[in-house]
Structures are given as C-alpha cells and as structure tokens.
C-alpha cells in the first residue's frame, strides 16, 4: 500500500462518515465503510503519535560535515 499522507487519510475518513450519514448504503457496504473508517482513524492517530519528540541543532563545519546535536536553549 502506498503510504498515505495524514491529510489524505483524514479527508478519506471524513468522506466515509459523510457517506454513512447519507444513509443509503446497504448493510454490507456500511460495514465495509465502517471498517475502512476505523482503519483510517487508527492510521491517523498512529501517525500523530509516531513522530518522536526531537529537537536538534544542525551544524555544518568547514569541511562540509553535518553534525546533529541536541538543542539546548541557552
């Protein structure tokens, strides 16, 4: 599966809810939509939590080497 962006997933989730609200789905479709919607919402929440809190200071010495150090506010 192509990795979806958070925004795409959220839009899909909203669209699924909208379709379910319209109420003219058959039971099978409604269940499918429900499962897809739950999957999307889990995916969205996972994405939100996946990023690790990390604030680094990037420096670049004269030879072009990039150094990544934890950022400390002075």
């Amino acid at each position: 599966m192509v990795k979806k962006t958070f925004e795409t997933s959220l839009k899909e989730l909203e669209e699924i809810v909208r379709q379910m609200e319209s109420g003219d789905l058959c039971l099978e479709d409604a269940v499918k939509k429900y499962e897809a919607g739950m999957k999307q919402s889990k995916y969205c929440l996972d994405l939100l939590d996946k990023t690790e809190k990390k604030i680094s200071r990037i420096t670049n010495d004269k030879d072009g080497n990039i150094k990544k150090l934890p950022f400390e506010d002075k």
Binding site: F6, L10, I16, A30, C44, L48, I55
Partner: protein, 446 residues
C-alpha cells in the same frame, strides 16, 4: 584690457589649468542635490549622467568602484543627494561632478533598493501564486532557520511543542544580520534541501529595522527561497514588517510564533476531530443495524402463514354464503308479498261480485220504479177526482135537469144557437133532461 597692455597673455592650457586648480581647490568635496537625467552606463561600467534642477545642469560621472557600494540603482528622474568633487576635463574644457556616494532624496536608499528589488523579482514571477508550493498539513519534520539564540527560536519551539508535543524540529542556527547573514541563510536553505529533506522550512527572525532585516531583503536569499524544493514559511519581524523573503516564501506568517502555528496542526484538536469521526462511525453503524433490524421485524410481522390465508378465504366464503342466502330470502319474501297483493286485487274484481252488485242495482232501480209509479198514480188520481168534480158541475145533463134543453138538427146533429139558422119545416130534435122530442118548425121569430 590693462593686462593685455602689460603683455601678460594666457594660453588656453594655462588658463584652463588655473581654472581647474581654482575649481578643484575651492570645491574638493561637496554635497549636491538634484535630479538625475541622461543616465547611461557604457561598456566601461561607469555611469554618466547629468544632474539638474529647474535652472541649471551639471555633467556628472560615478565610477564603477564607487557604484558597487550603492544599495540602489540610480535611474532617470530620481532625486538624489550625493557627495562629489568637482573636476575639470582639460581636453574638452568641461567640468563635471565626480560622485563618490549617492543616496535617494527623501526615502532612504534601503527603501528604494527594497522597492527596486521587489519590482524586479515580481517581474521575474518570484511572487506568483502559481510558484507557491503547498504546505504539508502535518509535517513529520521541520527545519527552523534562525538565530540559534534569539527569542524567535524559543517562541517557535514553545508553540510547536504546545500544538504538537511530539514534533521533530531541526534548528539551523544562522546569523540573521550582518555581512555573513545572507550567505548563511542561503547555505542553510541548501543544506535542508540537499541533506535533511525536511517537510518544511521555517525562516524566522525577530523584529528589527530595515537595516537589520537587510539579509531578508537580499536578492541572494530571495533566489534561495525561490529555488528551494522544500516549502518555506517565513516569520520575519513584526506583523507590519514585510520583507522580500516574505513575498517569495510559499507562506508568510506575521511573526515567528505565527509561523510555528501555521506549520503545525494542533494535535489535541486533531485527535478530538478523529475521535468525533470515530464516534460518528460507531453511532451511524449502530443506527444502520437497528434500522435494518426494525425493517426485518416489521416485514416478518407482515408475513402471512398459509393457515391464516385459508382462514381468510373461509371467512370470505362464509360471508358470501350468508349474503347469498339473505338475498334469496329477501327475494322470496318480496315476491310472496307481491303475489298476495295481486290476488287480493284480483278478488276484488271477480264476476260474482259484479253480478251481485248489478242485482242490487236492479232491485234498487225497480224499487225506485214502483215508488215513482205509485207516486205518479196518486197524483193522476187526485187530478182525475178534481177534474171529475169539475166536470160534474159542467155536465149539460145537469143543466138540462134544471129545465134547459138542446136543440139540434136531426140531420147532422148540429146544435142550433140562433133561430135564423132554421127554416120552416126543419125537423128539430130537442134533447130534454129526460127523453127527446122531434119537432117541426112552424114559425120563426127572429
């Protein structure tokens, strides 16, 4: 005239040299103001122009080396103030101002440079909306290019952590003012594009004067922003400060804090939104199932068993049957009544009855006849008696009894009332009360 006589005659060169000396000594460095016209830059790279006011014109030149220090490009019509020395060019006998420094009159040169660069970049399409890259809704990593120590970075980090506690941020410390600033900013943008490959760059700096912000108004930084593949949000200065970098950036925030807010979505808000959507999904599916269940139950209750169907038909049959019988009874009853009524009618018209009636009628009539006859008879009888009585009185025999007699001719029995009717010897019959006499006429007395 007197000098000529004394024999002191100048050559052109000598005179020119003296004038040159006089001019250049008297006006070594002066400040001049005027309007630029006839501006031209030949291949040499020096600028030649005239500077004028309403009444006078002076030729002027500015050499390439001096020009490089200018922050703006001189243009025709521009009012300037400049520092110059006056110089006379002997071969042509002309004098000109050689400018060392120029600045626009009124607005500072920085401002003019700003406007000029803005116009230039706008013409190149740097500010076009079609060139703006979309900002990712939820960047997984953000690179902040700013002073490593300023308040701007702290503000950005605080806001970012508040909105999205587990955000990933790389800080690329750069000088944000001074000579190195331009290059450091450009290098940092290139570093992010080539190595870090973040989802987003925030280019930020706290407020400052136009001079302080000069790096953000430089063409080099504008180019770096325009070329960057990674989208850039600027947050430079205060709300009212607009820099060239702001115009070129994909999104402009009024302050560094605002840039952080635009860059990162509010995590709690997002979680709440997703939870709401989840709840909607749950609720909607429940409703769906409940509705369908209701529907099935409703339909089930309306399903008929074969028994019910048979029962219904039986009931209908019985109904029809009873209605049929009733109809029949009613029909018979009606016709019976009709029959009775007709026979009664017939009875009243039978012949016996008529005969009896006629007989009765005949009786009545005959009775009436008898009655009428008797009555008439009585009447006739009484009339007879009356008339008879009258007749008795009128009977001639009665008169005869009283002595009267009737004379009449014997021949024709004609009654004689007058004597002259008779003749002598006529036989006359005299009728007496009792018996008759036959006589003869003897004499006639008339």
């Amino acid at each position: 005239m007197t000098e000529k006589n004394t024999g002191h005659i100048y050559t052109v060169s000598k005179l020119t040299r003296e004038i040159k000396f006089l001019l250049e000594e008297t006006y070594p460095f002066i400040w001049v103001t005027g309007e630029i016209s006839n501006y031209s830059v030949p291949f040499s790279g020096h600028s030649y122009f005239t500077i004028k006011d309403r009444k006078a014109v002076i030729s002027a030149v500015m050499f390439k080396n001096q020009k490089q220090k200018l922050l703006f490009n001189p243009e025709n019509g521009m009012k300037i103030i400049g520092m110059a020395r006056l110089s006379l060019y002997e071969p042509r006998g002309t004098y000109q101002l050689i400018f060392e420094y120029l600045e626009p009159e009124g607005a500072g040169s920085m401002q003019v440079a700003f406007e000029q660069l803005k116009t230039k970049l706008a013409d190149k399409g740097f500010f076009d909306d079609s060139c703006k890259k979309p900002i990712v809704f939820f960047p997984s990593s953000i690179s902040v290019i700013s002073s490593g120590t300023g308040a701007a970075v702290r503000d950005i980090i605080n806001i970012a952590i508040r909105r999205f506690p587990n955000c990933s941020i790389d800080i690329l410390p750069v000088k944000v003012q001074g000579n190195e600033s331009e290059n450091e900013i450009c290098d940092a943008i290139a570093l992010v594009n080539n190595h870090l490959k973040s989802d987003l760059i925030i280019l930020a700096r706290g407020g400052g004067s136009l001079e302080d912000l000069s790096a953000f108004n430089s063409e080099a930084v504008a180019n770096a922003i325009f070329k960057s593949i990674v989208p850039i949000i600027t947050g430079v200065g205060h709300e009212t400060d607009f820099t060239i970098a702001d115009f070129v950036a994909d999104l402009r925030a009024p302050t560094p804090s605002a840039a952080a807010e635009l860059a990162l979505p509010d995590k709690n808000h997002l979680i709440q939104r997703i939870s709401t959507l989840q709840e909607s999904l749950n609720r909607l599916l429940k409703i769906k199932i409940y509705d369908l269940k209701q529907n099935v139950m409703d339909l089930t209750s309306r399903l008929k068993s074969p028994d019910t169907v048979v029962h219904d038909f039986r009931f209908r049959l019985e109904d029809y049957e009873s209605r049929l019988i009733n109809m029949m009874k009613h029909y018979i009853h009606y016709n019976k009544d009709k029959c009775l009524w007709l026979s009664e009618l017939l009875y009243t018209k039978k012949p016996e009855k008529k005969i009896s009636d006629l007989r009765q009628y005949v009786k009545t009539l005959s009775k009436s006849l008898i009655d009428n006859f008797q009555k008439n008879f009585q009447e006739v009888r009484s009339t007879y008696i009356e008339l008879n009585s009258k007749l008795q009185t009128l009977n001639p025999k009665a008169v005869l009894k009283r002595g009267y007699s009737i004379s009449r001719f014997v021949t024709d029995k004609r009654v004689i009332r007058n004597s002259i009717e008779t003749k002598k010897n006529d036989k006359i019959e005299i009728v007496l009360s009792k018996g008759r006499l036959i006589t003869r006429v003897e004499k006639i007395n008339g």
